[in-house]
Symmetry: D2
Subunit: 363 residues, 4 copies
């Protein structure tokens, strides 16, 4: 079940970048949830962010199709299969990489692992396009979580070393759709766009950091000692190609604080227990503690760049030089924002179901 | 199966900090692996690191017992149950925290989640002592990996903001046992010890960063798109209390590099494909790529500190002040090194079995 | 993961009887297995058995489509998604059963469980048509097992109380395609056909018993104590609608024998250990013992019959009479033969992979 | 996770017949369930049934120990580890079987599978004694189900071909403890006892059939299409050594009925929907349908018999004769009754939790 994630709300991914379609099966969604194609499409369209500034030649005006599990506008309790078709595929440019693994890509590792039988065109299973399935599933999870008041949000907090200023939740909600990099800080966003354009001109690429948040999460989600909220979120994030690091709350900065500084002190506000800070990122002992869940995800620069790169010709086992043709995202961070949001929603929906927070039938 | 981890090499944890024992069941270990009590004890004793400089009052001179799965000095293919007994427990000091959740701890979240029925003495299931079970299982995984030539190593690379200088693998192997903080850089180690002692005197605590490495890992371990090597390692690390961040290879730094800088270029050395750098930390597309696996784990400062801290009295729902009595680790980083090493070994053993790298019977 | 089965060779089912399609995702199939549409179609067509004698109005001349996981005629190591489209659906006849649960069907239980949101048309997820997905996956499993010499066979051994005479493996192989009931005994087959036709005329239906066998299974498949070969086969069989009993080897008859009679005595033939009888059905202690695997599966008579039946009108909670319109299989046993064969193949393929009997890449 | 069963209420088995102990870890039991040693001991003592008539030399006056997960007489939400120690073990008699696999036992299959490293003394992992762990877990499941009103019952319905007359639920409840064979029909019980004694005198053994029932099960437990109630019960039953067949409701007899006879017609009694018969054994489409769950389990005769039996000497690969020394159960059916009951309870508890029927915290 390598291509499945989750227990009570579980997703199974299939499809390749240049195959017939990209699909996802969602198993465990309660019956009775109102959902329609537009809900899913709306979420999927978020992946188009940054289309102009950092886009690939491939236009993703994908229309989702519902194959199963939704009837009369409501989930039936049966597995939900959603797909998008792959169209206008030009695999010709990929023949060059058959024997020339791209630096920074999975080409070499995949070729060895699958004995050369893997479909490498467009990156195959290792393409970012696979995450379109995650986002389709995420749209269901987001709707499901909404029945409990839980809201999931993600936004760009850094690109090419340019950090966004801290913004309030309301500002984040309001601003992330307003620019091409899904950043809540308009000034930083403009600088990020300029940096991406410059990298693109240089045949290079940039990485960045995405922050995912979940609000109104009740105390108690997460199942220690192994199925922790942190552990399962981390595992979900690492399914996103290009993610190389992640942290919760103060994260790596916490490792440099003293305990007296890092501990989130508890207090009572309006009759309810709350913390005076959120260095824990809303998770204590692997369980949600009632504060907002805050995770930061490090995305490496896109490995496909325009510059010539040294590699190896595996057919003749000699050094070679690779020039990747076609246009590629100079920065996938803006598009990955919706994926981070989706992975959070999927993971939280799974835990919410396991905790009995969501009934098996929604009326 | 919240307390189980892994598929082919799977561990199940049980026991509480102040209960009868800490135990672990290992399911899936091939038959015929030579193992004895001393092998496991040796690994477990590594957790004693930093005993003098940062120790708790509790002396962990634990002796492991083998309950099942090993016969005549070899694994039988049956589940292996290993335990250590809890002795000399003084739970009295914990009655004060019954209604006063400790800031930075799981006390509050756990109390809400388990309706107050959880055994909170000594932190119960949220105690670092639970990781003794992980290390016992890790010792089996390390022996199992050794049959394939894979070696797992962990060492302290930062404590209290004091970084260790980069050292060669040989230096790391040679040095980590020589000081109390399991650090390969002797000079930095001395400064770390001093910083921990100072924090202890101030009733405070420190965090740090541990690096885990795996050497001689063949290409192809990891099962994308969800059971990635990165994802499963991350999930395993987050089972260690106090871990709040983790990254592979260049990690968060990669997010600030350009693609041309971050991509690990491929070349041929002595007829074999290898990379000129290891920013990927040995993992591409969720699969081992033949380079050393390198992970860095951020450990927050111990939440139990000597200073008085604001909290809440949950019995009367009023603000309160908490003074935690007894002595506690001023820094758990040195002791967590063996746990990071174990989680890496457990995860890699699981993937090695899944990839067919290790036979079901060892002769 | 309620709609997933297996660990190393895992299938995920989706689709409804009157939805867009019936699909299956196969995860874990090694890369490099040669497979084409015809292989799968051939297996799927076996479900047409008995079409004339016991057929539904629905003509299943389904053409399978490969959505993912197969490239250039070989498996890629990625999840394989296979589907058939649902065509020529007439759901109108089902509106009558919306509030009138059919006796012997899952209508009532499903309506309560899913709060009425389940798609009941054509039985929805409870239709025998779902098993078309199992058979598509089974065709892959059969090809995979063939690489190790394992052969799976199934045939009808009883319908409507009419037993088939015992036949040799060769006779079974030769005969099962020759009659409409997939029975190796031609004489009994003729009587079975007559009995089905009689039942059909009476607006009634018949059940029967299917025997599944696996040949050349090496010693050692199955993972006790819970993932036994028997337990996992049984679980797989019970996913077939209408199965109400199953047994291995002597099965229920063994419960009436003495130990001296039932024990399979061991001997040596041509230098190899073998048994003088096979009351164990090829499985000892949950593990294959080298003898043929033999399972017998009891299939109840089709619940959809032409006769009027008492039921309940759930809209008004009063007694009612139900007449099911349309034509239905008077006996599904002949068509279920391919499904039993597939469930055996899927389960054995899973265990063969887990035991390392099949490599991860086939060359 | 071969030695784990269940998802939400999951058990992990460890220990060997002649090792230190037999243990079980229960993961997922809600917090707050009142439980004490006597509750578990009471259930475990049921395995002593038939001690006089059919007993082994080994006296199982086992005292259970609670290692974790229960604090102050209530479950804590943490994994519960329960064990019994193995005492007074005489392994000497087993040296003879090291190279002489016992007919009807797993000796040969296990030796091949585990390369001879398995602990064969007393049957090791294949001993009926392993089921003591299942019963300990079953006692927790029974208590958990009781909070919802679900009651699980098992009784002997046939031994050595002697059937028990059908009895009412009340009679079954009242009678099963009154005789040595756990049979509700006193007359048949006397004949069964005589038959067992006769078999014992002849150095032979008998099998039989056990019926398991669950009462007051609400509509909707079971998760099709694969995690069906039937499939998971079947898998659980096959973990009991010596089980070779099982059926639900009319089972194999249903295969011989017409649909008009087998269909359970629905009606309304006291405002509630109910069925006029229970040929389905309380399960439709893999889901509980509100009628009593009824399963019948076929137990083969004990393979260990006093008579000399032909076998093979694996050390020299020649034919040999085996005489099994020591005393063995001439019929394990009476003792297996508690195990069947436990497997039903464990499986239903798992589904009850998955369906949200039982809260995560019991007050």
């Amino acid at each position: 079940m390598d291509n499945s994630l989750g227990k009570s709300f579980a997703i199974t991914s299939f499809g390749e970048s240049h195959g017939d379609c990209i699909g996802i099966v969602i198993d465990g969604c309660p019956a009775g949830l109102g959902i329609n194609v537009d809900d899913i499409q709306h979420e999927l369209d978020k992946r188009k962010a940054g289309a102009r500034v950092a886009s690939t030649a491939r236009r993703e005006d994908d229309k989702i199709e519902i194959f199963s599990g939704i009837f009369g506008g409501r989930t039936t309790g049966a597995p939900i299969c959603l797909i998008i078709w792959n169209k206008d595929i030009d695999s010709s440019e990929y023949d060059v990489i058959k024997n020339l693994p791209r630096p920074g890509h999975a080409d070499y590792a995949a070729r060895v692992k699958y004995g050369g039988f893997n479909d490498f065109h467009g990156g195959g299973r290792f393409s970012g396009r696979i995450t379109a399935g995650f986002v389709m599933a995420g749209s269901i999870a987001i709707k499901l979580l909404a029945t409990t008041g839980i809201e999931v949000l993600a936004h760009t907090v850094e690109i090419g070393g340019i950090p966004a200023a801290a913004k309030s939740i309301d500002e984040i909600r309001a601003n992330i759709g307003l620019n091409e990099v899904n950043c809540a800080d308009a000034e930083a966003a403009a600088m990020m766009v300029a940096a991406i354009e410059k990298a693109k001109r240089q045949g290079d690429s940039l990485g960045g950091i995405i922050e995912g948040m979940a609000l109104n999460v009740p105390v108690g989600l997460g199942e220690p000692v192994f199925d922790t909220l942190e552990g399962n979120l981390a595992k979900a994030f690492y399914a996103i190609p290009a993610v190389k690091g992640m942290e919760f709350g103060a994260g790596f900065a916490a490792a440099r604080m003293t305990g007296s500084r890092n501990n989130d002190q508890l207090t009572i506000k309006q009759g309810k227990i709350t913390a005076l800070s959120n260095n824990a990122g809303g998770i204590s002992g692997g369980i949600s503690n009632g504060m907002p869940i805050v995770a930061r995800v490090a995305v490496k620069p896109t490995p496909s760049i325009g510059q010539a790169q040294p590699t190896v010709d595996m057919a003749i086992m000699e050094k070679a030089e690779l020039v990747i043709k076609g246009r590629h995202d100079a920065c996938i961070v803006p598009r990955a924002v919706a994926v981070v949001e989706s992975m959070m929603a999927i993971t939280l929906a799974d835990f919410a179901l396991r905790a009995g927070l969501i009934p098996r039938v929604l009326k």
